[in-house]
Amino acid sequence: MAEHEALHASHVLEYPYSRSVGPVIGAFLTGLREGRLTGVRGAGGSVIVPPTEYDPTTGEDTGELVEVGPGGVVETWAWVEQPLPKQPLDHPFAWALIRLDGADTALLHVVDAGDPGSIATGDRVTVRFRPEADRVGSMADIEAFVPEGSA
């Protein structure tokens, strides 16, 4: 009975959110724009990357900013054969948790490794920034990480 069938329509939920970032995230994003990677020292002395106003485990205030990277180690990774439309790369890539040199926590980003045989846990990778003119102060200022030696 057509009268008692449900109608359908497409619905778009869209908003251009604009977020104030505060001093700590702001320092990291400013660093990215300048081609640097920044961490912050936690209460116990460990270096947290990306930096937050708080220690990710205890919630205590964090302290001084420190420079980290540009290289690091892949702690774990996942291979994406078919990237979703909004993801950073439009060709196959790996998501990875990367512990940057000098850091005690790992950062999530993509590794542009070419094929799944070219990445493994424990591999060293290094950052590939976008061209300076294209950097705006966001995570996307890092185009990708790449296997060390291939940059």
Binding site: S10, Y15, Y17, S20, G22, T52, E53, Y54, T58
Partner: protein, 384 residues
């Protein structure tokens, strides 16, 4: 069987149109750290965390308790996220209170916030959906017809709304955290402000704010802090359907039932006489006389007479919203908790320049949606 529970720490941010100096976590921590400092506690002293806020679309951050867990020292602890529309700040505090009253936890941190400048409040409250009516009225347009219905029923004169607008803004001058500080406001400036949703003028409506509120609730054997505890004497919530035949939106049954419940728990038979101060969710000026009646401070139809006689003024016999209320600060998700928190500050004697002398028993009230969700508590200086 229920344990006694008290507020032992309060904290809030400076509320502003745009807190562009902090991240969401930074803003929320500002209130939470202040509450911990007030209770003379650290993160590790807290057993559980209860977070509340209005729709996630304000910040575009779904179920944000996940992101906020480390920022609120909740790692390794139970954490809950409450959402009951505009009453959420109040119901969040009540959920936290139950965690203590049930004996499950000794000290609970509860936090409510909204960073509505990340998007636009008007958009986030009424995201257009397919098949819906064209957007006709906007936020105040939902409430203005009910205000008109109240005026018709009670015969209240036009100037009552303006009186509330002036009173709450002048109270806010004495509250350093309030968003609006309008020392020059008077009946004339309100009357000359733009008519938005006739009969509601610009200065009779709440602002849109960023802000957060936090409290530490504790069991009787776990008190701390420099100020005396604010004991919870009664706690209640009530909901009724959003739309139904014969629904009274001017004087909702859920509000009447909720106040009857909370008064019964607190042993209150005459709220105007027995309570010393009330912090009540008044986002549009006319909701003061409406809620005076709904909360039983007077007979039906007489709410406006209390306002007109100055009974609810700071120096009146039952001050309403000495903090300046929602008309002066409105971070939506936190607005209800601010009412509960300000009630606690009054009975702890820590309200500074807006302290009501000798306040011993206070009401905090929050409502939400289309006046179908209510949350209330009564807090007192004396142990119940």
């Amino acid at each position: 069987m229920a344990e006694r529970c008290a507020v032992i720490g309060v904290g809030q941010t400076h509320h502003k149109a745009k807190r562009d100096d902090v991240s969401i976590a930074g803003m929320v921590r500002e209130a939470a750290k202040a509450a911990l400092a007030d209770a003379e506690l650290t993160w590790s002293d807290i057993d559980a965390v209860v977070v509340g806020k209005a729709p996630d679309m304000f910040e575009g951050n779904m179920m944000p308790e996940l992101y906020l867990a480390p920022a609120l020292g909740a790692v390794g602890k139970p954490m809950l996220r409450v959402h009951t529309a505009g009453s959420v700040g109040g119901s969040t505090a009540l959920v936290a209170a139950h965690l203590v009253k049930s004996g499950i936890h000794k000290r609970v941190l509860t936090v409510a916030y909204e960073k509505q400048s990340d998007s636009d409040a008007m958009w986030a409250l009424s995201v257009p959906q397919p098949f819906a009516a064209p957007l006709l009225a906007g936020a105040g347009g939902y409430f203005a017809p009910h205000i008109r219905a109240y005026m018709r029923r009670s015969g209240a004169p036009d100037h009552i709304g303006r009186m509330v607008a002036v009173k709450d803004r002048l109270n806010a001058i004495h509250n350093p955290y309030a968003h609006l500080h309008l020392p020059d406001i008077d009946m004339k400036t309100v009357e000359e402000s733009m008519m938005l949703w006739d009969p509601l003028r610009y200065l009779e409506a709440c602002p849109s704010s960023d802000g957060a509120a936090a409290m530490v609730l504790a069991a009787e054997d776990s008190l701390s802090g420099g100020y005396p505890p604010a004991w919870i004497h009664g706690a209640a919530m009530r909901s009724e359907p959003t739309m139904f035949a014969g629904r009274d939106q001017v004087n909702p049954q859920a509000g009447r039932d909720c106040s009857a419940d909370v008064y019964a728990q607190a042993g209150i038979t005459d709220p105007r006489a027995q309570l010393d101060v009330a912090e009540v969710y008044v986002p549009f000026s006319w909701y003061e006389p409406m809620w005076l009646e709904n909360l039983g401070f007077c007979d039906l139809g007489d709410g406006w007479k209390l306002t007109e006689a100055g009974a609810t003024a700071f120096d009146g016999d039952i001050p309403w919203n000495p903090s300046g209320g929602v008309l002066s600060s409105n971070p939506i998700g936190a607005s209800g908790m601010l009412r509960f928190l300000e009630a606690a500050m009054q009975v702890r004697g820590q309200a500074g320049e807006h302290q009501v002398d000798g306040a011993g028993l206070a009401l905090g009230q929050a409502y939400g949606g289309g006046s179908q969700f209510f949350a209330m508590w009564v807090v007192g200086a004396d142990k119940p």
